[in-house]
C-alpha cells in the first residue's frame, strides 16, 4: 500500500483509494444493468395488469413478475449497496480498501449467482416468484444461484467492517466516523442479519429441491421474510445515509445533532428487522403476542427512528441553507434551493414520497388487525413501491449524479434530460403508487394475471373504478419506467462514452456537472457563530433553528394520524373475526 494508490479529489479534498474506486465502479455498473432488466419487466407488467392491453400471457406474466422482483429488489439494489459500502468505508474516511482481490472474487460470485438466477427464471425453471414459497418448487440451480450471490454479499459486508477496523487503526480519520458512514454501518449490520436468515432458509430449500430434506411451509415463510423484509431495511438505512450525503453535497446540510441522528440509526439496528412479521400477520402459525411485538418493531421504536430522520434530514438541509443566507420567512431556504440539480431534486422527492406515501401506508398496513383488509391486495406493492422505489432507488439515482463526476470523473451525459429525470420518475411513481394503493383498497389482488376472472367458475365484478385505477397504474408506471430508462441511458453513456471531466471551475455552471460541485455550498468562516445564534432560545413563534421543517413534519404527522384512524374505521365494517 503506497501513497500512489490514492488520488486526491479536487472537489472534496478526500483521498480516493484506487482499488476501492475500481470496486465501487464495477458494482455500480452491474447494478444499473439489473435496473434495466427490472425496468423492462416493469413495462411488461403494467401493460398486462392494464386489462385493456393485457400484454403478456399468464405464464409469462408470472415469470416476468419473478424476474422483476429479483432484478430490482435483490440484484439492482444490493449491487448498488455494495458500492455504497465500499464508498462509505474508504472514500468518505480517506481510507484504503482491505484485500481488494477478495472484493473481486466476491463480485464474481455475486455476478455468477445473479446470472444463474436470471437464466433459471427466464427459461421457466423457476416460476416461483421472488418469494419462492415452499412447496412451490424451482430448479435447484435457482436456489444455488441465490446462495452464491448471498455469500458474495456477506463477504463484501464483512470487508466493509474490516475496512473500518483498519481505518481506525491507521488513524485515517479523527474521532468518530462521519454520520454518512455510520448510516452505512447500520445498513451493513442489517445486511448481516438479512444474509444470515437467507442462508438459514435457502440452504435447506436448496436441499429440499434436490429431494434431500423436508421444509415446512410456515417455517419457510417465517425465515424467508427474515431475509425478504430485512433486506428492505438495509435499503432504508442506506437510503437515509445517502440523504445525509446528498444534503451535504447539494445544500451544505449540517448535522443538527449527532447523538439524535445516530440514535435513530441504532434504533434501526436493534429493532427494524423484526418487522419482517408484517408479512405473517394473517398467517396461522404465529400467535397475536408474537405478531404484535414484532410487527411494531418493538413498540414502534424503529418508526420513532424514521420520524427522527424525517426531521433531522430536512432540518439539516434547512439549517445548511439558513446558515448560507437563505433566512427569509419559513420556506425561502426551500424555494431558493438548487431544484435544477438532479441530486437535490432526487433527494427531496425521495424524502417526501418515502415519508408521506411509503412510511405512513407501511406502518398502517403493518398493523396486526388492519392487515386483514390488506394482505395480498395491491395495497402491499402500492406501499413498497413508494418506499423502495420512490425512496431508495430515487436516492441512489440522485447519488449517481454525483458518482459520475466524482468517481467516474465524467460529465453527466444528456444533461438537460438528467435535470428533469427525477421529476419524471417521481411523478410517475406517485401516480403509480397512489393508484395501486387505492385499487388495493377495493380488494384487487396482487400477483394476479386476470381480474376479469374470465376463466374462473364464478364471476367477480370489481367496481368500474378499479379499471380506471389500473389504467392509471399503467400510466404512472410507464412514466416512471421512462424516467428509469433515461437514467440508465445517462449512466451508460456517461460512464462508457462520456466526456472526461477535468478541473471543475467554481462559480460557472458546467454542462454535465451538478450545481453542488460547480457552486459548492461552502459555509462561511463564522458559521459556528451563526449556528449558535439560530439556536438561541426565545425565538418566539419561530420554533427553533429550522421552523420550516417543523411545519413540514407537523403536516406529516397530521396525515399519518388521519390515514391511520381512517383505516381502523374501514376495518370495523367487515365481518366480526377473532
Amino acid at each position: 500500500m503506497t501513497t500512489t494508490d490514492f488520488r486526491t479529489c479536487g472537489s472534496t479534498g478526500l483521498k480516493v483509494h484506487g482499488p476501492a474506486e475500481a470496486l465501487i465502479k464495477a458494482n455500480a455498473v452491474v447494478s444499473v444493468v439489473a435496473l434495466l432488466i427490472g425496468a423492462v419487466g416493469a413495462v411488461l407488467l403494467v401493460l398486462t395488469r392494464w386489462q385493456a392491453v393485457h400484454l403478456l400471457s399468464a405464464p409469462w406474466y408470472y415469470r416476468i413478475l419473478g424476474v422483476h422482483g429479483m432484478s430490482m429488489l435483490i440484484f439492482f439494489i444490493i449491487f448498488f449497496e455494495m458500492a455504497v459500502l465500499y464508498f462509505a468505508s474508504t472514500v468518505v474516511i480517506n481510507a484504503r480498501q482491505v484485500m481488494p482481490k477478495l472484493g473481486w472474487a466476491s463480485f464474481g460470485l455475486m455476478v455468477i449467482g445473479a446470472v444463474m438466477v436470471e437464466v433459471m427464471m427466464w427459461t421457466g425453471k423457476a416460476d416461483v416468484l421472488f418469494t419462492s414459497y415452499v412447496p412451490l418448487r424451482a430448479d435447484p440451480l435457482f436456489y444455488l444461484g441465490v446462495i452464491l450471490f448471498a455469500v458474495g454479499a456477506l463477504i463484501v459486508t464483512s470487508m466493509f467492517f474490516a475496512n473500518l477496523v483498519v481505518a481506525k487503526r491507521e488513524k485515517r480519520y479523527q474521532g468518530s466516523v462521519p454520520l454518512v458512514t455510520f448510516g452505512a454501518v447500520a445498513a451493513a449490520i442489517i445486511a448481516i442479519i438479512t444474509l444470515l436468515h437467507g442462508a438459514a432458509i435457502y440452504i435447506p430449500t436448496f436441499l429440499w429441491s434436490l429431494g434431500l430434506m423436508e421444509v415446512d411451509a410456515q417455517i419457510y415463510r417465517l425465515i424467508w421474510w427474515g431475509l425478504g423484509h430485512s433486506s428492505q431495511q438495509i435499503n432504508v438505512a442506506a437510503m437515509v445515509a445517502i440523504w445525509y450525503m446528498l444534503g451535504a453535497l447539494t445544500v451544505g446540510a449540517v448535522v443538527v445533532n449527532e447523538k439524535i441522528s445516530r440514535l435513530a440509526f441504532v434504533l434501526y439496528i436493534l429493532f427494524i428487522s423484526m418487522a419482517s412479521a408484517h408479512h405473517l400477520l394473517v398467517d396461522p402459525g404465529l400467535g397475536p403476542t408474537w405478531k404484535i411485538v414484532n410487527t411494531s418493531y418493538f413498540m414502534y421504536m424503529a418508526v420513532l427512528a424514521s420520524m427522527i430522520h424525517g426531521f433531522t434530514v430536512p432540518a439539516g438541509m434547512e439549517l445548511g441553507q439558513r446558515l448560507r443566507g437563505f433566512t427569509s420567512g419559513l420556506f425561502e431556504w426551500l424555494r431558493k434551493a438548487p431544484w435544477g440539480d438532479p441530486g437535490f431534486s432526487s433527494l427531496v422527492f425521495s424524502v417526501v414520497v418515502f415519508g408521506f406515501v411509503g412510511g405512513i401506508t407501511g406502518v398502517t398496513i403493518g398493523t396486526e388487525q388492519i392487515n386483514i383488509i390488506v394482505h395480498n391486495t395491491l395495497r402491499v406493492p402500492g406501499h413498497f413501491h413508494a418506499t423502495v422505489v420512490s425512496g431508495t432507488a430515487m436516492a441512489f439515482m440522485g447519488a449517481t449524479y454525483y458518482l459520475i463526476p466524482l468517481i467516474f470523473r465524467k460529465r453527466v451525459a444528456f444533461w438537460g434530460l438528467a435535470k428533469i429525470q427525477p421529476y419524471l420518475f417521481a411523478l410517475g411513481m406517485l401516480i403509480f403508487t397512489m393508484s395501486m394503493t387505492f385499487a388495493g383498497s377495493f380488494g384487487v389482488p396482487r400477483r394476479h394475471w386476470d381480474i376479469t376472472f374470465s376463466q374462473a367458475p364464478f364471476g367477480i365484478e370489481f367496481s368500474p373504478a378499479v379499471d380506471l385505477l389500473l389504467g392509471f397504474v399503467a400510466l404512472g408506471g410507464l412514466l416512471a419506467a421512462t424516467g428509469a430508462f433515461i437514467f440508465v441511458a445517462i449512466a451508460v453513456k456517461s460512464v462508457f462514452f462520456g466526456d472526461p471531466l477535468g478541473e471543475i471551475t467554481h462559480g460557472t455552471a458546467m454542462v454535465g456537472v451538478p450545481a453542488g460541485l460547480t457552486h459548492p455550498p461552502v459555509h462561511s468562516s463564522n458559521v459556528d457563530e451563526l449556528n449558535a445564534e439560530l439556536h438561541q432560545p426565545g425565538r418566539g413563534w419561530r420554533l427553533g433553528p429550522a421552523p420550516g421543517t417543523v411545519v413540514l413534519v407537523g403536516v406529516f404527522l397530521l396525515a399519518f394520524v388521519v390515514y391511520f384512524f381512517v383505516n381502523w374505521k374501514v376495518l370495523s365494517f367487515v365481518w366480526k373475526i377473532g
Binding site: 399468464a58 414459497y133 412447496p135 412451490l136 480519520y173 479523527q174 474521532g175 462521519p178 454518512v180 448510516g183 411451509a217 410456515q218 415463510r221 445515509a241 445525509y244 450525503m245 444534503g247 449540517v254 400477520l281 396461522p284 402459525g285 400467535g287 397475536p288 413498540m299 414502534y300 421504536m301 418508526v303 420513532l304 420520524m307 427522527i308 433531522t312 406502518v363 398493523t367 396486526e368 392487515n371 386483514i372 394482505h375 395480498n376 391486495t377 383498497s441 380488494g443 389482488p445 400477483r447 394476479h448 394475471w449 374462473a456 365484478e461 459556528d528 449556528n531 449558535a532 432560545p537 427553533g544 433553528p545 429550522a546 391511520f564 376495518l571 367487515v574 365481518w575 366480526k576 373475526i577
Partner: protein, 191 residues
C-alpha cells in the same frame, strides 16, 4: 455545541450533547405517537371486532381434506359448477379447503351467526380473499386456521385466491353465500 459540520465530516470531540428544545419536542411527540400506534393493537385485540387470532393448529393436509369431505357429506344442500353447497348450523365448525385451483365447498352461512371457519390447503400456499368485503388470510398447507367469524350482512360473496399458487392461480374463485335471518340471500355481492 460541537463545530458545525456536514454528514460527510467526522464530528470533532464529544458529540454526545443535548438536543435543541425543538428537536426534543419533536422526538417526544413522535414517541407519544409511537405509543398510540402500539396501544391500538392490544386495545383492538380486547375491544375490537376483527382480530387474526383464531384457533391455530397443525394438521396433515390429507386429514384436513378428509374432514372437509365429511363436513360436506353432513351438510350438503346442493351444488354449483360441480362444487357442493353446504349449510352448516350456526355455532358449528365449518371447513374450507383450498387447492390448486379451487375452493371447496361453497359455504352457506347465516347473517349474525357465529362459526369457526377452518382454513387450510391441500397443496401449496393460497390466499383467502373474501370479495367484495375484502377480508384476507394466508392459507398454509399443514396448518389449520380456525377463525371465529360472524357475517355482518347477507350476500352472495366470492372467495378469490391472492397468493400465487401456480399457472391456474387467476382461475381460482370460490363462492360463499350468507343468508339473512329469514333465509334469503340479498344481492349484497356479485353474480
Amino acid at each position: 455545541m460541537p463545530t458545525t459540520h456536514t454528514g460527510l465530516e467526522s464530528p470533532k470531540g464529544v458529540w454526545w450533547t443535548p438536543a435543541h428544545p425543538a428537536e426534543k419536542i419533536w422526538v417526544t411527540i413522535a414517541f407519544v405517537w409511537c405509543m398510540v400506534l402500539f396501544a391500538m393493537m392490544p386495545l383492538w385485540h380486547f375491544k375490537g371486532g376483527q382480530n387474526p387470532s383464531g384457533i391455530r393448529r397443525k394438521v396433515e393436509p390429507t386429514a384436513f381434506f378428509r374432514r372437509t369431505q365429511e363436513f360436506i357429506a353432513q351438510y350438503q344442500i346442493g351444488q354449483d359448477q360441480g362444487i357442493p353447497i353446504v349449510a352448516p348450523p350456526p355455532g358449528s365448525d365449518v371447513y374450507l379447503t383450498a387447492m390448486s385451483f379451487q375452493w371447496t365447498p361453497i359455504l352457506q352461512l347465516e347473517e349474525g351467526a357465529e362459526y369457526t371457519l377452518h382454513l387450510s390447503s391441500l397443496d401449496v400456499n393460497h390466499g383467502f380473499n373474501l370479495n367484495p368485503l375484502n377480508v384476507n388470510f394466508q392459507v398454509v398447507p399443514g396448518y389449520d386456521y380456525g377463525l371465529k367469524v360472524q357475517p355482518t350482512a347477507a350476500g352472495d360473496f366470492r372467495i378469490l385466491c391472492n397468493e400465487f399458487c401456480g399457472i391456474g392461480h387467476h382461475t381460482m374463485v370460490g363462492r360463499l353465500i350468507v343468508v339473512s335471518g329469514n333465509g334469503t340471500a340479498s344481492s349484497g355481492g356479485a353474480r
